[in-house]
């Protein structure tokens, strides 16, 4: 089933065409890798799906419904969640609070419940906390235990990336957009995370679109790869097809892809 369907999507910043007539789709249960040289428009592509940038033309359908013009929170509510390339955690909130706050759109207790500490409020709080701990537990023991009550700013770089993913998971999305999840990690860590990304689909049932420069990761997890350049789709298909596509190689300055990893 088509989960996400993007038709003729364009965006311009001033005179710059960041994306041009982009067509793209994701089926339920797929993991799609998005590659492309720096400045190709990959992050802009995510910004657009998540509602942070409004496209100048085109259509974004999620489960058959248009996402154009929705506020980012409405997009998240609809079931799309994302991480940020330049890790943007709530640095002064604790690790647990980071994943708790991300469940905002799945919960509903307001002023009344919290003031009168109603039964429903207590139950919901408990549920939020448990779900948060569960999501954090996905990354082994790194983010739980004493660490849960520390501010996110003390985390190491790799753990911040993990927390970003945990926070996105906590919104219980159907579609997860990961923007360079392994950037800045060492090979061991990125290998481990690659495995976890697989589990995100097999155990948690997320459909995933992932931007990544690390070709090993892309090769290992993607069902399908899309290469963007100058805001246009250069190639689509299996990793091997795309990575052997002469245009793609050209876009990466003529160097074979494997060596760039």
């Amino acid at each position: 089933m088509r989960l996400l369907d993007i038709k003729d999507l364009s965006v311009t910043f001033g005179g710059l065409h960041a994306l041009r007539d982009l067509n793209f789709h994701v089926d339920e249960g797929e993991i799609v890798g998005v590659i492309g040289p720096n400045g190709a428009g990959k992050t802009t592509f995510f910004n657009m799906i998540s509602g942070m940038v409004t496209p100048s033309s085109g259509e974004i359908l999620f489960k058959g419904e248009s996402m154009i013009g929705l506020d980012p929170n409405q997009v998240t509510q609809a079931g799309i969640s994302r991480t940020f390339q330049n890790v943007r955690l709530f640095a002064n909130m604790t690790i647990l609070e980071n994943v708790m706050v991300a469940q905002h759109c799945r919960t509903k207790q307001g002023v009344f419940g919290s003031l009168f500490n109603t039964k429903a409020f207590q139950e919901e709080e408990k549920m939020i906390r448990e779900h948060g701990e569960k999501v954090l537990g996905f990354f082994g023991s790194r983010l739980i235990g004493y660490r849960m009550d520390q501010p996110a700013s003390v985390l190491s770089y790799a753990n911040r990336r993990r927390l970003e993913i945990a926070r996105a998971m906590a919104t219980t999305p159907q579609l997860l957009l990961l923007d360079e999840p392994v950037a800045g990690m060492n090979p061991k860590e990125s290998g481990e995370l690659t495995e976890l990304i697989g589990k995100l689909r097999s155990e948690w049932g997320f459909t995933i679109v992932m931007i990544e420069h690390d070709m090993n990761v892309v090769r290992d997890v993607s069902d399908r790869v899309v290469c963007l350049d100058h805001g246009e789709t250069l190639a689509q298909g299996s990793f091997d097809e795309v990575s052997n596509n002469p245009e793609v190689i050209e876009a990466y300055l003529g160097r074979p892809l494997e060596k760039r990893a």
Binding site: T54, S66, I68, G69, L70, D71, Q74
Partner: protein, 381 residues
């Protein structure tokens, strides 16, 4: 600011609907008021004109011209003050709330100097023009000094902190200066000496034929002339000199500017200094026009000047001046041309409310101002 005007086809939230309603209401009220006014001018007995305002009387052409001139001269002063807000916001990305106090200090310097000169018999006597020039120079100097000092003491240490921190500090600075002036000079209103007869006299201009002839008080004319020259000078400074170029570079991107060998601190000080000088000149003009100054003189004109800067588009100097003039005119005309036809009693009391409503309206309808803002991308966030 997030997208204030949302794309079509969006899922509207309650707030969006309310805002749309609010826009319609505001614009509708303005439209009705204006139409009622026009009708009242044509025929005061027209039922539409009488609908809200049973004793509608048409304004005479003289009255309207008078209001326009008053509005223009007031607006020119707002514009001069607005330049300071606009430049500082362009360069540092924060609202220097205390800028209105810089203007007030200019007016106060003028009060002290002009009275001393009047005591020496120079003000009303033969040496009026040199006296005024001397007063203006002194006022500009004091205002510049105050602006530079506040940058050095209160704002520089806060550079790079969250945006609201310097704003809150500047509120403190404003409060401090206001009350320091009250304590030093006493709380009452301070009068300027009377202007000489030839300046106060009304002058008649009928360059465009009799229908467009209008009378202007000499003082208001002086305000307009001085404001235009100051604006022209500032424009030359910013657009044509090296320091001005440095200012624009710093406004665009501080880091890159400093890599290009621009002394960022010095440029920021210059920005405050130039803004301060303009406010000081505006202060003198204010004093000459209203002949009275009080410690709280800076507060409302300050906020209105900020409004003018936003209306014209923050960071945009021409816009600031245009915004000031539009605000001044709107403020002068709206009570009689809009509120009175809408049946509001005592409309001139609501002049200040008009200014704030204009600010809200502009931010609701065109948040980047009428002439577009010029800000670095980080300040736009």
């Amino acid at each position: 600011m997030t997208t204030a005007v949302k794309a079509k086809g969006s899922k509207k939230t309650g707030v969006d609907k309310f805002l749309t309603l609010l826009r319609f209401l505001l614009i509708g009220a303005i439209a009705i008021g204006l139409i009622a006014f026009v009708w009242q001018q044509i025929d005061p007995n027209n039922p539409f004109a009488r609908w809200r305002n049973p004793d509608a009387q048409p304004l005479t052409a003289e009255q309207i011209k008078g209001l326009v001139v008053t509005g223009l001269s007031q607006g020119a002063m707002y514009g001069l003050i607005a330049l300071g807000y606009s430049m500082v916001y362009g360069v540092l990305g924060f609202i220097n709330f205390a800028h209105g106090e810089v203007f007030m200090l200019g007016a106060f310097t003028g009060f002290v100097t002009s009275n001393k000169l009047a005591d020496a018999g120079l003000w009303e006597g033969g040496a009026f023009i040199p006296s005024v020039i001397m007063t203006a120079v002194l006022a500009a100097l004091i205002a510049t000094g105050a602006a530079v000092l506040m940058e050095r003491v209160a704002y520089r240490p806060l550079r790079g902190s969250p945006r609201l921190i310097p704003l809150i500090t500047s509120i403190g600075v404003s409060f401090f200066i206001q009350n320091a002036v009250i304590l030093l000079f006493g709380p009452g209103a301070k009068g300027y000496p009377p202007n000489p007869e030839w300046l106060q006299k009304k002058r008649r201009f009928d360059l465009l034929g009799d229908a467009f002839a209008f009378e202007v008080e000499g003082t208001k004319l002086l305000v307009l002339v001085v404001a235009s020259f100051s604006m022209a000078g500032l424009w030359y400074f910013v657009e044509r000199t090296k320091t001005g170029k440095a200012m624009r570079a710093v406004a665009e991107d501080k880091e890159i500017a400093s890599l290009m060998g621009i002394n960022v601190n010095k440029t920021i000080v210059t920005t405050f200094a130039v803004g301060g000088a303009m406010a000081g000149i505006a202060g003198i003009l204010w004093g000459l026009l209203f002949r009275s100054v009080i410690a709280t003189t800076g507060f409302l004109p300050g906020i209105k000047a900020f409004t003018a800067a936003v209306v014209g588009g923050v960071g945009n100097l021409g816009g600031a001046m245009a915004g000031g003039v539009s605000l001044g005119t709107a403020e002068a005309l709206a009570p009689l041309m809009l509120l009175e036809p809408l049946g509001v009693a005592g409309p001139t009391q609501l002049r200040d409310a008009v200014a704030f409503l204009l600010l809200i309206l502009v931010l609701l309808v065109k948040p980047t101002g009428l002439f577009g803002e010029r800000l670095s991308s980080e300040d736009r966030a």
